[in-house]
Symmetry: C2
Subunit: 377 residues, 2 copies
């Protein structure tokens, strides 16, 4: 199979870039003396996560229970489900634990701690739980100065059916940073808050074996991670235009792209119409708030090399419109009907979520493998 | 099965609203004396399309060949694949025709007409083709004053391997209209351009049995459709917040919603955290450019009734943040952890595309059926 003969649109994964990206972060974290707990939510594929796990302590992070069940079925035992636990999801957690998985939930309220404990007690098991911390106002979690953390920690420690595993935080605001200096500063805050919280728990006689931080930007620029037991990150395996805009990677490092065929032209407007709409690229516009807005993605030739100034300016369900930032520059002959291009995504997680498979290439247009993705819940 | 026990997030389809929405458009088009050719791209499900087809002439529209193959396998023979044809897709078109499908392609260039004719000739079949017209500058198609239309028509008519079936246009700009009057005016333009193009073809001795127009907004407000043989539309079956913002429907008519669980709070910020992120709601922000920006969706109670001023203000991969437009109004007790809500989508096609199934309800919270969606290509 070859990129020239498979049907468009489809998702292409460049294994060479994947291998390089994974090696880079592992080496970086290794120098900082901290374990990588890869996040399975970007790749949603066991082949990719197996590469990311190699040489690490063996645990992963997931964003859905479907991922947890999938990775567990492929032999991965140590899993953190890093979305605040909802009551309706506990039966599947219990099933996984009974099958032998070491699955850890996260929570930031006494209500959650109570229903987790009740469920564990009912089934005669202890469900491991991490307290979620808020380090940057991004989303969920307890702030370091909130006494609720100790209340939850004490509650968990005194109850059957639940175990206190430690603390977890995620510097999600790092995606909004305007400079590498800002990311570096946020990485320090992320680390400091996690470590300080762990110290408070321990000082109060509570266990805290896991001190977990992570996001691809902060993992890429953290300078000091003492006291941290693991870094969670997922996007770094593929990277994307948002990460390139942040200075976390170069456009040429991006390992995933969408293969598309030209299906029409509106020459007076400088438009090339393709068959990669938002069902293939996603509606993500993550670069819209960055210094350089990349529309719905940067256009590359079929080998994956970015073409200067060419981007996908808009999308409909099954149509994309490519144009040049400099209208006069468009080379119509190279954009003839049927010609193939690859589009780098704004957000690898979002574009990946639109596809069931990766067509894996390894330095040429030959498809060397087809890897499945475990979408849904 | 009941909405209170199925796992969140998931896609809920209210059959009562679906039935009502379909009946409304059928009656409207029937009064205008025109056939409905339902678009299968919104529902991507045979049960829904069967309802929409009932009483019509039997043909449908699709946006992918996977939809075409799926609907054909369920007994639907007459299919327009309404995305400009790409060379790499012709083998599947040929396969469908050889199996007995009457599948029609669309094109707007001589290059496409040539490769379609070559492929048909190679296989000893005639592939039916419609010329795509541009009525509003939205995307693809030939303008009515462009002599290219006659060139393509004559080329097709003189070639073996391809048949001229007629003309097709889509007033995609209707989604950007600012008033019902604007939609009505665009519906007239859409109709007039299709009819005028058909007349030009016929005057030049070319066949034009199909004169096809359509979009949900123009189908909802067209006043006169003489000369039109069929109206294509899909969103009307479900409707969505973009359609409500346009005045095409009421919020209470929207038949699809995403069921979600509360998983946390940030009370000082007025945030309710849920498990419906952009993987469940999509990244679509179609109401952002409308008079009322509905964020990532309007929040309803579990019965599907909209709650005043509550909307999903932002999303991450597996998290949604609900807030009230009037912060003080948030009733925290009703948003307790584990409580269930339903979110109306900005864009039914985009939200649907994130799910594999519909959990069908019919006037209560009981799930009466589970219907599959045929996503992908």
């Amino acid at each position: 199979m070859d990129l020239f003969t498979i049907e468009t649109p489809c998702l292409v994964l460049d294994k060479r870039k994947l291998v390089k990206n994974i090696a880079y972060i592992k080496e970086r974290l290794s120098k900082l003396g901290v374990n990588l707990r890869p996040h399975g939510k970007t790749a949603k594929n066991i082949d990719v996560i197996t590469m990311a796990l190699e040489g690490q302590k063996g645990g992963i992070t997931v964003s859905t229970l479907k991922e947890a069940e999938y990775y567990f079925s492929h032999g991965i035992n140590d899993i953190i489900y890093a979305v605040g636990i909802a009551p309706v999801k506990l039966d599947r957690i219990v099933d996984l634990i009974k099958k032998g998985a070491h699955i850890t939930v996260i929570l930031d309220s006494l209500e959650q701690a109570k229903f987790v404990a009740e469920k564990g007690l009912l089934h005669g098991i202890d469900i491991p739980a991490l307290i979620e911390l808020d380090c940057d106002g991004h989303r969920s979690g307890i702030t370091v100065d909130d006494s609720l953390m100790l209340d939850i920690g004490s509650f968990i420690n005194n109850k059957e059916g639940i175990n206190l595993a430690g603390v977890l935080t995620h510097a999600g605001e790092s995606y909004q940073c305007q400079s590498v200096e800002e990311i570096r500063a946020l990485a320090k805050i992320e680390r400091d808050i996690a470590v300080k919280s762990a110290e408070i728990l321990k000082k109060n006689g509570l266990p805290c074996s896991i001190v977990s931080v992570g996001s691809t930007p902060t993992a890429s620029f953290a300078e000091e991670l003492s006291g941290i037991t693991e870094v969670r990150a997922g996007v770094f395996m593929f990277y994307d235009l948002v990460m390139a805009g942040l200075g976390v990677c170069d456009k040429n490092d991006i390992a995933v792209s969408v293969l598309t065929s030209v299906i029409g032209h509106q020459k007076s407007k400088g438009w090339v119409i393709t068959d990669a709409g938002w069902t293939a690229l996603s509606r993500d516009r993550g670069t819209a708030s960055q210094k350089v807005d990349q529309g719905y993605g940067v256009v590359c030739d079929v080998s994956g090399k970015p073409i200067d100034n060419m981007l996908v300016s808009s999308t409909n369900q099954e149509h994309g419109i490519i144009l040049s930032r400099i209208k006069e520059e468009l080379d119509w002959d190279s954009f003839a009907i049927g010609n193939l291009f690859r589009v780098l995504p704004n957000h690898a997680c979002a574009t990946g979520a639109m596809h069931e498979h990766y067509y894996v290439v390894d330095g040429s247009t030959e498809v060397v493998d087809v890897w499945h993705r475990v979408n849904g819940w």
